[in-house]
């Protein structure tokens, strides 16, 4: 994240037609945790207490202390080739994937003018407020973005988007319109956690938009996205009401208020897949200089009898002990209310970690 102007100035002076300004930056989280107590899911034959801290990555803690579930290293390289054009790649190695490094982002970005930017390539799907910087723990207060909200199995897409940033009076505005698709040959959450068989998940004809406005202490984000879902389990197409595809529509609103010391973060989302799947989150925090205690509640509820339903109450502290690193400790109390669609059962867990950016 750090650059010195003199170095850039020298590079510019010496610039030859093929030179590019290269920037290297990165982030890391080293987390450890364990379940203190939990029910498991006896009706599925799982007696071991389990805490699913992160759905799409399948970060699970059990009653032994482990570091792997949420520890990750990310490296971003961006090459500015001049005249507003740059290429950016982000490689992430996760403990949950045996630290195999993979490109999570690989895109080009072209700044047309100070307001408009066009981007194309592989990016994070910006569904929720925290989706696109989900891996950068340093950028938010909690240990992780609330798991009950960030449940969707697809979190990347390939396509193109147009970004607008500008000022409307005293309001700062940013919008993002995107389109693309994702074909996940072996989706981790569905294959390993929910169906226990190889599951290919396709989200096609993705079209979405994000509108964000901020004014001093207040910020609001509105979003809508729609897509067509196809799924293959062990190679066989999954049928919904006799058809091999279904349409999904996502709606979200997030509002944050930050008065300097005290802040409130909220998020409300709905995915309509023929029936509604609702998620909500509220967090309250207070900054005492470098120490920020917070309390958070997040819930997921499927709008049908016996549907998936769970919530988490979290208490934690973020301590900015170093200019580029934060220590966090978080206690999570998960209540899994459904029987037929239970996820990981009730659990009480403790996680600690350090988030770094550079």
């Amino acid at each position: 994240m750090k650059k010195t102007l003199s170095l850039i100035a020298v590079a510019t002076m010496l610039s030859s037609p093929c030179s590019a300004e290269i920037n290297l930056s990165g982030f890391a989280s080293i987390n450890a945790g364990k379940v203190l107590s939990g029910t498991g899911v006896p009706q599925f034959g799982i007696d071991e207490p389990t805490f699913l801290a992160d759905y799409p990555i399948v970060s699970t803690y059990n009653d032994e202390i482990t570091f792997e579930p949420e520890t990750l290293f990310g490296l971003q390289i961006s090459a500015n080739v001049g005249q507003g054009l740059s290429i950016i790649g982000q490689v992430v190695a996760r403990g949950a994937d045996d630290f195999d490094p993979t490109f999570e982002w690989a895109y080009l970005s072209y700044e047309i003018n100070e307001n408009w930017t066009v981007q194309a390539g592989k990016k994070r799907l910006p569904l929720f407020y925290y989706s696109d910087f989900y891996d950068v723990g340093y950028a938010y207060v909690w240990m992780r973005a609330p798991a009950d909200n960030y449940t969707w199995q697809i979190f990347n897409y390939s396509g193109a988007n147009v970004l607008y940033t500008g000022e409307w009076g005293d309001w700062s505005i940013s919008t993002n319109i995107y389109a693309g698709r994702e074909d996940d040959k072996e989706n981790k959450l569905l294959s390993e956690f929910f169906f226990s068989e190889p599951t290919r998940e396709i989200w096609k004809d993705i079209v979405g938009g994000v509108f964000q406005a901020s004014y001093d202490w207040f910020e609001i984000r509105l979003t809508h996205m729609q897509y067509t879902n196809q799924r293959y389990q062990s190679g066989e197409p999954v049928l919904w009401d006799g058809k091999d595809e279904r349409d999904g529509k996502f709606y979200g609103i997030a509002m944050n208020a930050d008065w300097g010391n005290i802040f409130v973060l909220t998020e409300l989302n709905r995915l309509d897949l023929g029936g509604n799947l609702d998620t909500q989150m509220i967090t309250l925090g207070y900054r005492f200089n470098d120490v920020t205690p917070y309390i958070s509640y997040a819930a997921f509820e499927e709008d049908s009898v016996g549907g998936e339903e769970h919530n988490t109450t979290s208490l934690g502290i973020r301590w900015d002990f170093h200019p580029s690193a934060a220590f966090k400790i978080q206690y999570d109390d998960v209540q899994d209310k459904s029987f037929d669609l239970a996820v990981a059962g009730d659990s009480k867990s403790l996680t600690v970690g350090v988030d770094i950016v550079f």
Binding site: M1, W105, D135, A139, T165, S172, S324, V357
Partner: protein, 136 residues
Amino acid sequence: MKHFILGVAIFAMATSAIAGVDVIVHPSNNNEIDEGTIKKIFTGKAKSFADGSKAIPVTQQDGSAVTDEFNSKVVKKSSSQLKAYWSKLVFTGKGTPPEEAASDAEMLKLVANNPNLIGFVETGKASGDVKVIKSF
């Protein structure tokens, strides 16, 4: 009461090692630039001056007294809050943090030579080659 005043004085000294910051631009820059505009330019929310010319913010080294002073008085965020803010933009392709000058001297040299730059130095350090637009 005396103890209280002394306490406040010590506290003020502890939190601020320098007298203040002067925000500077090139002498040819005649734009009206208020505190809110400075904050927006340094958080990447505004990218031009009132006359439409490009505004390029330059900060100073992370952790230096003058940077801390500027961040708390003008941007009104701690340096970790600001770093968290920029990491969210940097790693999502939505913004780049300001370049850094290594010292007041380097800042003065850069701003004196580029009409698009806006920077800051410790109060009283500005030379005749730059224009002080606001003091905090």
